[in-house]
């Protein structure tokens, strides 16, 4: 057995007689064991983490009667352009902006939160906190965010 590439570890760990296929199977089995152990440790499916059920497409958003729009992008982006009537709300200006929002909002009105688009997740987090604080379900986040609003097939 060549030691040149075996700087450390017990030799049995390298299972030198095992074929590549055997190693692949063993690797997959180890993965399965680790994931099962991890799953048992973490417990059941975290349903509350499934924020996606609160997403709304732009097409669906247009079907909502008179929704209240919330912009969770940075202030500079909001200053450059935003949806007419959208209230800028993020975790930094929460208390003040929530006051502005409550002046406009009534419980029959859906709220749709958008962030910049590709990959941003602040809209999900803001929508989740609004649902919690306002105690209503009809608060969604917009799939695709601002980039969809500006350039999407159903751009407003």
């Amino acid at each position: 057995m060549g030691k040149a590439f075996l700087p450390w570890g017990p030799t049995w760990f390298y299972l030198s007689g095992m074929s590549t296929f055997g190693r692949v199977v063993l690797l997959l089995a180890l993965t399965l064991l680790a994931a099962i152990g991890h799953g048992l440790y973490l417990g059941p499916v975290p349903e509350e983490a499934a924020l996606d059920s609160w997403s709304v497409s732009l097409e669906a958003a247009r079907g909502l009667p008179n929704p209240l729009w919330v912009d969770s992008r940075p202030e500079s982006a909001y200053a450059t352009a935003h949806l007419p009537g959208a209230i800028r709300l993020d975790f930094d200006n929460w208390d003040q902006a929530l006051g502005d929002l409550l002046l406009e909002w009534d419980p029959d009105r859906s709220v749709i939160v958008y962030c910049s688009g590709n990959g941003c997740e602040s809209s999900q987090a803001i929508a989740a906190r609004l649902r919690e604080e306002l105690g209503v379900d009809s608060i969604f986040w917009l799939e695709g965010g601002w980039s969809k609003l500006r350039h999407g097939d159903h751009a407003l």
Binding site: T20, R23, L27, A35, A50, D52, G117, E143, G145, K148
Partner: protein, 140 residues
Amino acid sequence: MKRWIILLPPVLLGGFFVISGGLKLAAPEEFYRAVLRYRMMEGEAAWAVALLIPWLEVLAGGFLFLRAWRKASALVILALLFVFEAILASAFLRGLDIECGCLGSGGGTSVGMAFVRNLFLIAAGLTILRTDHTSDEAAP
């Protein structure tokens, strides 16, 4: 070929997967959400995938550092990358405007960027298979 050049692809690829799997393991619920965003599965199936993929990444990535395991690990990682490329292509064709979820919550990589990055990772994996001459019966 110089040994360090041969070692470069497994070290880079292994390092990438250990880090990307580790970030996911640190926040399993984040990755669960990322899996849901692809809208291909939900509930227990998505949760199972959210736990299996990071462990596969960490183990296969880590085993790439061991010469005797390099070929097997590279095969597993290539299979993972090819499947993921197909999923990314499907997300793109379905018009999903989502973050890939590749590096935990902080990645911010779009589907298109992830697709291109995966091509480089696949190239690294194929290079490992080409340059790794460890035969099945060879010592580590």
